[in-house]
């Protein structure tokens, strides 16, 4: 299964982390063939939010939600199941100062739904 590991944290603490430590884990995961994609993000001050309502474009500064912990980067990984995904997420270095949200990828290409989602 594919999981997206979203790395959150206070920007100052994330900024103080050693990039080489993060890159080492990234290399290891890629060497094992379990990393589909991974990137670190520029600080949230550089973010722009885009919306389209009734055909009109609205562009605003900053992120959608105001929180102390910001999205700082992501790993798209390949894992056998949630337990393996948790083990991988636990080794992402910023997990020690922030947190990692582990989300399963919805196989949208295989199971495309028509119309509204029924829950």
């Amino acid at each position: 299964m594919k999981y997206l590991c979203l790395v959150y944290g206070e920007e100052q603490k994330i900024g103080e982390m050693d990039d080489h430590k993060c890159l080492a884990w990234d290399h290891e995961l890629r060497a094992r063939g379990q990393c589909v994609a991974s990137e670190a993000l520029e600080p949230v001050a550089t973010a722009t939010t885009v919306r389209v309502r009734n055909g009109r474009l609205s562009v605003t500064d900053g992120p959608f939600a105001e929180t102390k912990e910001q999205l700082a980067g992501f790993y798209l990984i390949e894992a056998r199941d949630l337990n393996e995904a948790i083990q991988i997420a636990a080794k992402i270095p910023p997990a020690e100062v922030g947190c990692v949200e582990v989300r399963p990828i919805r196989p949208i290409r295989e199971h495309a739904r028509a119309g509204a989602r029924l829950e």
Binding site: M1, Y3, A79, R80, D81, L82, N83, A85, I86, P104, R106, E110, H111
Partner: protein, 414 residues
Amino acid sequence: MPAADFNRRLEAVYQSESRAVLATLIRLLGDFDRAEEALHDAFRAALEKWPEQGMPENPRAWLVSAGRFRSIDQLRRQARFDSFDPLAHDVADGTTAAADDDDPSVTDDRLRLIFTCCHPALAPDAQISLTLREVCGLTTEQIAQAFLTPVPTLAQRIVRAKAKIRDAGIPYEVPAAAELAERLETVLRVIYLVFNEGYTASSGTELMRLDLASEAIRLGRLLIEMLPDTEALGLLALMLLQDSRRAARASAAGELIVLEEQDRSLWNRKQIEEGSALVRRALSSRRFGPYSLQAAIAAVHCEASSATETDWNEIVYLYDLLLRMETTPIVELNRAVAVAMRDGPAAGLALVDDLLAQGDLAGYRLAHAARADLCRRLGRNAEARDAYLRALALVQLEPERQFLQRRLGELAGG
């Protein structure tokens, strides 16, 4: 065989085997809902076939293969209509695990089920509901009633938990050795929460809800049968010892009776013996934790013929050990009460007042009740009255309210 006899025997098979059959079907079919449906189909088949063919030698194996067969049959028919259902293809092709009842993993299925229901990625409420539903086989209605939750809320909680297991890829497995200790902690916590909900309902009119306490003890027994971990032994001991006082804990009118005033002849000796033996086993392993220590404290209480005959020195010592593992204000409060019994109420009151001054226990009814009791023993009635009133303002459980009210009334009279 007469119909009534047959129904009784089938009912007995359901009681003893249905959870184990379900646990194996979940592994074979890879899906909770499909397995539950298959379980029902298997018992429907038994109801048809067993009266003519006689009861099979191994009902569990018969039920597993009947359930699996029917589910696969249904999946094959469905697969002609569904454009894509990978699991349906796997199951129908037999690429998922094969049913082999001599396979040692079959005995592990119930353990897999417990660890899956108590997976830390599920919310605590969901862990409890799912465990009672799937491992204990209680109905949604029974669980809703036990937790004073509306049935639709509880049903929704279970549906969401199963959806998360499926969609987030929570595996059906016993955790690897490296993760076992941590994962077991969650399982033990779920069992103890179920027990506590049954033992002292957090709100409502009945002091004890028998079913949940018994279910928790049953879960504890099932767990140590498969995984005799020290803390699992300790937890079972703790539950047995606390539950042994069940008959003595409430008056006929439903009022709480505190340990000191309980009629100890009503305590369940058999459970005390079993619990004490488990405590000794747990403590001798030297890898014991907080559950084993709490059980050891309960055992000291249970083995004493009265409150004054209790070995309070031993209890204070055990609380000291417990505090080294879990420094919580509630453990400190319990230790203070034991110190009061050993060294007198003034020594206990000094400790309780220190704890209250730290602020964490200001909203905890039992801290004020303990202070009230110690002041009462010291003849400081005005302070005792204030503390009883504070405790009464925080109490939610009716039997406790009655008890505190009576003590307050006695103060006014004395």
